[in-house]
Amino acid sequence: MTPESTPPPLLQLHDISKAFFGIAAVKAVSLHVNAGETLGLIGQNGAGKSTLMNLIGGVVLPDSGTMTFKGQSYTPRSPADANTVGIAFIHQELNLFTNLSIAENIFINQFPRTGILRSIDRAALKQRTRALLHSVGLDMPPDMQIERISPGERQLVEIARALYQDAALIILDEPTTSLTARETERLFAIMDQLRAQGKALIYISHILGDVLRVSDRIAIMRDGALVSHEPTRAYTINRMIAQMVGRSIEQLYPPRTSTPTTETVLEIREVTASGIVERISFALHRGEVLGLFGLMGSGRTELARMIFGVDPFDSGEILIEGQPVHKPSPQRSIQNGVAFVTENRREEGLLMSIDIANNIGLVALKDFAKSLLQTIDQGELLESARSTASALQLKSGDIAQQPAKALSGGNQQKVVIAKWLMSQPSVFLMDEPTRGIDVGAKYEIYSVIDQLAANGSGVLIISSELEELTGMCDRILVMSRGEIYGQFERGEYDEERILRAAFREIMTAEPMLTEMKS
């Protein structure tokens, strides 16, 4: 039935595993790719696809397991090793120099040279580039600057570079995210052609229809493990999604103790930023925990940053407690009672080497500087910080002494929340509030979120963990490619349907938008 038995595979992985800080990212994956075929690789965010590809590309080293490439043992120590043996990795964000020409980008490290000065052989450079561009169907002058060509054309230039390096295996990670329909078609045609020439391709994408279209075989990952791996004809979109979701992992959520009111605390009206988000409208109510789900790159973090005033947007309006916000800025947002728990607490949320008490007091410093000289009343600050910390059941040493970096991830997150609590916000924006926090501590964070809502705040949780949103939220909005693409009320949660919306496989956006306008 399958031709797998006849030729030896080009790349073979045996029981490859990789863990980061004790958390398994890739679990005993065995997989192969043959010359002249395309392997589609899919899975939810965090399923381990990227780690697996980074292992193949030499970006990270495996903890255990072996790889063979072209029949030889393959142990890459760096991306350069992968290049040498003939593995090219085309990342989602392109690695091209926008200030140089197409030809220079392809040959940047191996210019053809001429003359006694060993200078660049410009004639040969042009000629060879032209030939390479021809083979990827790109009809452009070799000295065209990269910044003047479209994302799709840049993608093809990267492929031309891979061809020039004589790659036998080309890994494409989400190559179509910024391409137009025509560019995508062109890319697929080139991929078919490469496959016919005996190249092997690994194609990673969230657009399942495309994966079905280009792949010979499909591998599905979930929680670091390979859960399904068969020829493409064995799959339908439905089966792919079902496999990606899988059976739910055991995880506990505290009971919700409050119900949303009808009073709106935050309203977003038609917020648009060209090329990033498009006509986003929704309302957040007092006492509500609202989830915002989307795949990576769907624009969810960008949207949160716009709401908080970090990034600008082109048109639309943000209302807080019914009042339109004029020229949003973080400072104004804080004044208006909006708190933003960022995705990256190490870099944006906390001052790591500063003690906990001062971290907690940071946002509300002004309230502790009431004297004439505006000096900070340390005693009052400490007392206030202590009571907030104990309300959140912060597990720490002396909060006036211990620096924030000495805390566990879950407790650090509590400090971030405590910090915002001091200014008594009515709106909480939380971007991936439980990322990198172990299961037990997650439960406590969820309890805190529930408390915030019970005390009358509106909480918006952005997450790529669907489980946690269905476990905690009263309502879930789904974002896809910069648009709100679906809305689900508690009670009608269905992970498959939500994931479908995130993959744009169903459309529920239209009725919701009209409903929001009323």
Binding site: E93, N95, N99, L117, R118, S150, P151, L208, L212, S274
Partner: protein, 353 residues
């Protein structure tokens, strides 16, 4: 070549150097028509030579998004070395010039060592060597002025082929060599790549450490050369404030010429224009007898304008580099090229159960 749909302000911004250059030139000409006399123009080019040479070296550094604040001190130290050798060891001009180049290049090597090996950021490294360089020079001379022998003065006044002033010839040679390196050699193109995206440059297999080292060596070499040329033009005298603050002229000339402080953009040709512009401003102000105390302010204003334009250009670039999630509006309205609609995408999906 083409001004495809670029608005006038955008066009002026992209060509701000030429626009500034022509306006300033015309302005001085209006103030005094004798300004246009050929001898004045030759004078400007001659005086621009040493600034231009340092600025060309600086261009290499700026292209990698680095900076070399130590060039003024380097010029001083190189000139001191040449002067001491000529006075005490009775060196001829040519060996003294070579000594000056060696000292300049070693100075650059020290910068490169700190930046590439010790990983100290270029700004701090060269700020420190700015002070160190002048300190060493002052110690060597015990803060005394050095008077070069008369042959140094003759060298400065020499005319090549009996017509072209020596500094101009040296300047032209440096410019051609630099242009050749930057546009015609792999090293030159890799400098641009590093300035554009250092991470991607590493991934592409470029030896970024080696390239950075060379860049600071070149800057040091140019400073050594410029120091020597300047002494010869000043009549062979070096005191302890010699070439002080020249790093600002060099940086300003490069930036005026369109070299970005953020790396990756710039050309030798632009730097030449920038150096001529800066020198012309200084020369023109003196020529028109502008109050001596106002001159630094006018010069500073021109430099401010240049750097302001650079940041406008950078902001523009940043906009272009932003990550886009959705296909951009305003791309061709051809329905084929617009991002696939959900309906279209849905159609390609085989129906399930």
């Amino acid at each position: 070549m083409k001004i495809r749909g670029v608005s006038l302000p955008q066009f002026l911004l992209n060509n701000s150097t030429i626009v500034l250059f022509v306006s300033v030139f015309m302005l001085f000409g209006l103030a005094s028509e004798r300004f246009f006399l050929p001898e004045n123009i030759v004078n400007i080019v001659k005086q621009a030579a040493f600034t231009g040479i340092v600025a060309v070296g600086m261009t290499f550094v700026l292209l990698t998004a680095g900076i070399d604040l130590s060039v003024g001190s380097n010029m001083y130290l190189s000139a001191v070395a040449a002067g001491l050798l000529m006075r005490q060891q009775n060196f001829e001009v040519l060996p003294a010039l070579i000594a000056s180049l060696i000292v300049g290049t070693l100075f650059g090597a020290f910068n490169a060592f700190c930046i590439v090996r010790l990983k100290i950021i270029p700004f701090m490294t060269t700020l420190a060597t700015l002070v160190i360089g002048r300190g060493v020079g002052t110690a060597l001379t015990q803060s005394q002025q050095i008077d070069f022998p008369e042959r140094m003065n003759e060298f400065g006044q020499a005319l090549v082929f009996g017509v072209i002033p020596m500094p101009i010839v040296v300047f032209v040679i440096v410019v051609i060599a630099a242009w050749y390196i930057l546009t015609r050699t792999p090293f030159g193109r890799q400098i641009y790549a590093i300035g554009n995206d250092p991470e991607a440059a590493k991934k592409a297999g470029i030896n970024t450490n080696r390239a950075l080292t060379r860049v600071y060596l070149i800057s040091g070499f140019c400073a050594g050369l410029a120091g020597f040329i300047l002494v010869s033009q000043l009549g062979g005298r070096v005191d302890r404030s010699f070439a002080e603050g020249r790093e600002f002229d060099a940086i300003a000339a490069a930036v005026l010429g369109g070299t970005s402080l953020f790396g990756g953009a710039g050309s030798v040709f632009g730097t030449v224009i920038g150096a001529l512009l800066i020198t012309m401003v200084q020369y023109g102000l003196s020529f028109n007898l502008v109050n001596l105390y106002l001159q630094p302010m006018v010069k500073a204003f021109i430099i401010f304008l240049a750097i302001f334009f650079d940041s406008l250009r950078a902001a523009n670039l940043y906009k272009l580099k932003r990550r886009f999630i959705r296909p951009l509006d305003g791309l061709p309205a051809d329905p084929q090229t617009v991002g696939r609609s959900p309906i279209e995408a849905a159609r390609t999906i085989p129906s399930g159960d």
